[in-house]
C-alpha cells in the first residue's frame, strides 16, 4: 500500500517538476502578493492636501495654519483670500479639505463670547477618509485657537485609549495572516483540481483506475505533493512577513501549524470536489474562480469587515472555510489566544473539511 502510494506521489512530483514555470509561480506568487498588498493596501493617511481661505490674512490665522501644517496628516497647499465656489476650488487643486476663516476671526476670538466660527469643507467621496478628517480637524482647530488666547479647554471627560493586539496600528499585521488564507486556498484548491482534471483530459485517469491502485491511493497520492507545496508556501509567507513587515506570532507556533494543516486539508477537499464535477481544466478554472476565490476574497472578512455587511451576506460567510481560518489565524498571530477560545472555529473548519472530503470520495467512486 505504502509503496504504491509512494509511486503515485513521485509521479505527481515529476509532473510538477517538469512544469517548473508553474512551480516558480506557485512559490513566488505569495511573495509577490505580499509586497503588492503590503505597500498598496495601506490606508494610512499622510499629507492630505488642505486649502485655507482667510480674507483677513491675520497673524492669528497664520499661527493656526502653521499648527495644521505641522501635523503629519495635513499639508497646506494654498491660501486664498476670497472664494466663490469652494467645491470648484477643491476640484481644481485636488484638495480634500478647505478651512474657511471669517474675516473677523481674530477679533471675535480675542473678544470671547463666541462668534469665531470656522467652516470646514470636507471631500466625503471616500467615506472612511471623510470620517477620519472630520473627527481630526475639529479638535485640532479648537485646540489651536484656544492655545492662541491662552485658554484651557474645558473638558468633562478625558478618554484614554488603549489599543490591544496591534498597538502600533500597522496594517501589515492584519493582512499577512489574511493573505495566508487566500494563498493557501489558491494553491490547494486550484492546483489539485487542475492536477486531477488534467489526467481526465488526457485520458490517463482511466489508465490509473485500471491499474492495481485503488481510488483512495490515487487521491491521496495526488493530494500529498500539493500539501507539501502549500506548507512551504505558508512558511514562506510567515518568513517574508517576519523579515519585511515585522510580523511576529503572538501565540503558539505549533497550534498555528496544526490549524493551518486543517485549513490546507479543507482547501484540498474543495479542489477535489471541484475535480469530480469538472470535465476538463478549463471548467475547473471556471468553477474555482467564482465559487471559491471570489467569495473568499470579498466575503470572508479578508478586507471588508463581516460585521458591516447586510445580514443575508453574513449568513453566506458562515459557509466559507476562510472565515473560520481567518478567525483562528488572526487569533493566534495577533491576539495570542489559545485553543480553549478557538475551539469553536477549529471544530467547524474540521467538520467542513471532513464533509467535503466525504462527498468528493463518494462522488469519485460513483464515477468508477
Amino acid at each position: 500500500m505504502l509503496k504504491r502510494l509512494y509511486a503515485i506521489v513521485i509521479k505527481e512530483f515529476r509532473h510538477i517538476m517538469r512544469d517548473w514555470q508553474t512551480l516558480m509561480i506557485i512559490l513566488l506568487m505569495p511573495v509577490l502578493m505580499m509586497f503588492l498588498y503590503g505597500y498598496a493596501l495601506t490606508m494610512d493617511l499622510i499629507d492630505v492636501p488642505v486649502i485655507i481661505v482667510d480674507p483677513s490674512m491675520s497673524s492669528e490665522v497664520r499661527t493656526i495654519v502653521g499648527d495644521i501644517d505641522a501635523t503629519s496628516l495635513f499639508s497646506v497647499i494654498r491660501t486664498e483670500r476670497v472664494v466663490q465656489e469652494p467645491a470648484e476650488l477643491m476640484k481644481k487643486y485636488h484638495a480634500k479639505l478647505i478651512v474657511r476663516f471669517p474675516s473677523t476671526f481674530a477679533k471675535d476670538l480675542r473678544r470671547g463670547g463666541g462668534g469665531a466660527d470656522i467652516q470646514v469643507l470636507i471631500d466625503g467621496s471616500d467615506s472612511n477618509v471623510g470620517t477620519i478628517l472630520k473627527n481630526t480637524i475639529g479638535p485640532l482647530l479648537t485646540r489651536a485657537s484656544l492655545d492662541l488666547i491662552k485658554m484651557e479647554q474645558p473638558k468633562a471627560i478625558t478618554v484614554h485609549p488603549k489599543v490591544l493586539y496591534n498597538p502600533q496600528q500597522k496594517s501589515a499585521l492584519y493582512f499577512v495572516p489574511g493573505l495566508m488564507a487566500i494563498i493557501l486556498l489558491m494553491v490547494s484548491a486550484m492546483l489539485t483540481s487542475l492536477a486531477i482534471t488534467r489526467e481526465k483530459e488526457i485520458g490517463t485517469l482511466e489508465q490509473l483506475l485500471v491499474s492495481p491502485l485503488n481510488p483512495a491511493e490515487i487521491i491521496i497520492g495526488k493530494i500529498l505533493p500539493y500539501c507539501v507545496i502549500a506548507a512551504i508556501d505558508s512558511v514562506l509567507i510567515m518568513l517574508v512577513g517576519r523579515i519585511f513587515f515585522d510580523v511576529t506570532i503572538a501565540g503558539n507556533v505549533y497550534l498555528l501549524a496544526a490549524t493551518t494543516a486543517i485549513y490546507i486539508f479543507t482547501s484540498l477537499a474543495i479542489g477535489l470536489l471541484i475535480s469530480t464535477i469538472a470535465a476538463n481544466q478549463q471548467q475547473a478554472m471556471m468553477i474555482v474562480l467564482p465559487v471559491t476565490m471570489l467569495p473568499t476574497v470579498i466575503l470572508s472578512g479578508f478586507i471588508f469587515p463581516v460585521k458591516s455587511m447586510p445580514v443575508f451576506l453574513q449568513a453566506i460567510t458562515c459557509f466559507i472555510p476562510a472565515t473560520y481560518f481567518l478567525e483562528i489565524i488572526r487569533g493566534i498571530v495577533l491576539k495570542g489566544i489559545g485553543i480553549s477560545i478557538l475551539l469553536k472555529p477549529v471544530v467547524i473548519l474540521s467538520a467542513i473539511g471532513l464533509f467535503l472530503i466525504f462527498v468528493s470520495i463518494k462522488r469519485f467512486r460513483v464515477k468508477l
Binding site: 467615506s127 477620519i132 485609549p161 492584519y174 470579498i298
Partner: protein, 257 residues
C-alpha cells in the same frame, strides 16, 4: 466600411446562437455588482461594545445610555471587571471595551473632569481607528452636553466657555456612504473583466474552429476583423454600463431617502 458592417453583423449572429454567452455576460455580472456593492463596504457598523461600569452612578448610566442608543454600535452585556472586558475582546465578542472608573461621578461633579479608559481591538488598524473615533465623539458630545447643563445651572453662557466653533460640511458624499465610492470603482472593474474576456474569447473561438484562416483568405483585412470583433462588445459594454449606472443611481437614491 461594408466589410466592417458585415463582420459586425456576423458577430451578432454568433452571439444570437450562443444564448449561454449572453446569459453569462448579463446575469452573473449584475449579481456580482449587487453582492459586491453590498459587501464591499469599508464603513464600520455594528461594532460590538462592552462597558465595565465600576462607578454604577447616575451619570455613568446616562453616558452608557448615549452609547447604547447609537445604532453604530452593537451593545453587548455589561462586564463586571477589566479582566472580563479583556476576555470578551480575546474571544472576539466585543471589539471595543469602555471602562468607567469608580470615581467617575465624583470627579465630574468636582469639576476636575473624569477619565475613562477605552480598550480597542486594534487588529485592523483602519476599522479600529474609525470605530474608536465614533465612540470618542459620542463621549465628547455627552461631556459637552453635561458641561452646558452645568453652566446653565450656574447661570453662565456656554459660549463663554468655548469661543470657537468648527462647522464641518461634507461635500460630494454628504452621508459618507462608502457605496457611493465603491460602485463607480466596481463598474470599472466589471466592465474591464467582461468586455476583455468576451472579445478575447470570440477571436480565440475562430482560431479554435479554424475559421480564422478562412477569414484570412477573404478580402477582409485585419483592421476589418478587429473592428468587427470589438464593436459588438463595445455596444454590449455600453449596455451594461447603462444598467450599472441605473442600479448604482437607484441605490444611491434609495440611500438618500
Amino acid at each position: 466600411m461594408r466589410l466592417v458592417a458585415l463582420m459586425i453583423w456576423k458577430e451578432f449572429l454568433h452571439l444570437k446562437n450562443d444564448k449561454m454567452s449572453i446569459r453569462l455576460m448579463i446575469f452573473p455580472v449584475i449579481l456580482q455588482a449587487l453582492i459586491m456593492g453590498y459587501a464591499l463596504t469599508t464603513e464600520v457598523k455594528h461594532t460590538p461594545v462592552t462597558v465595565c461600569d465600576m462607578s454604577a452612578s447616575q451619570l455613568s448610566r446616562s453616558l452608557i445610555e448615549s452609547i447604547r442608543s447609537n445604532s453604530l454600535f452593537q451593545f453587548q452585556p455589561l462586564s463586571e471587571s477589566y479582566a472580563e472586558v479583556r476576555e470578551r475582546l480575546d474571544r472576539g465578542e466585543s471589539r471595543i471595551g469602555l471602562v468607567i472608573p469608580e470615581d467617575f461621578e465624583h470627579s465630574l461633579r468636582s469639576g476636575n473632569g473624569a477619565d475613562v479608559q477605552l480598550v480597542v481591538d486594534g487588529q485592523d488598524a483602519n476599522s479600529s481607528n474609525v470605530a474608536s473615533g465614533y465612540i470618542n465623539a459620542i463621549i465628547t458630545q455627552w461631556g459637552s452636553t453635561y458641561l452646558k447643563k452645568q453652566a446653565q445651572l450656574q447661570g453662565k453662557d456656554i459660549k463663554l466657555l468655548i469661543p470657537v466653533t468648527v462647522n464641518p460640511v461634507i461635500l460630494f458624499n454628504p452621508l459618507l456612504k462608502s457605496t457611493w465610492y465603491m460602485v463607480p470603482a466596481l463598474i470599472v472593474l466589471l466592465i474591464t473583466m467582461v468586455t476583455s474576456l468576451l472579445s478575447g474569447l470570440s477571436i480565440v473561438k475562430e482560431k479554435e474552429k479554424g475559421t480564422l484562416e478562412q477569414i484570412m483568405v477573404t478580402p477582409v483585412k485585419p483592421i476589418h476583423l478587429i473592428a468587427g470583433k470589438t464593436v459588438p462588445y463595445l455596444l454590449i459594454g455600453f449596455f451594461e454600463l447603462t444598467i450599472f449606472i441605473y442600479l448604482g443611481v437607484g441605490k444611491g437614491q434609495a440611500l438618500k431617502n
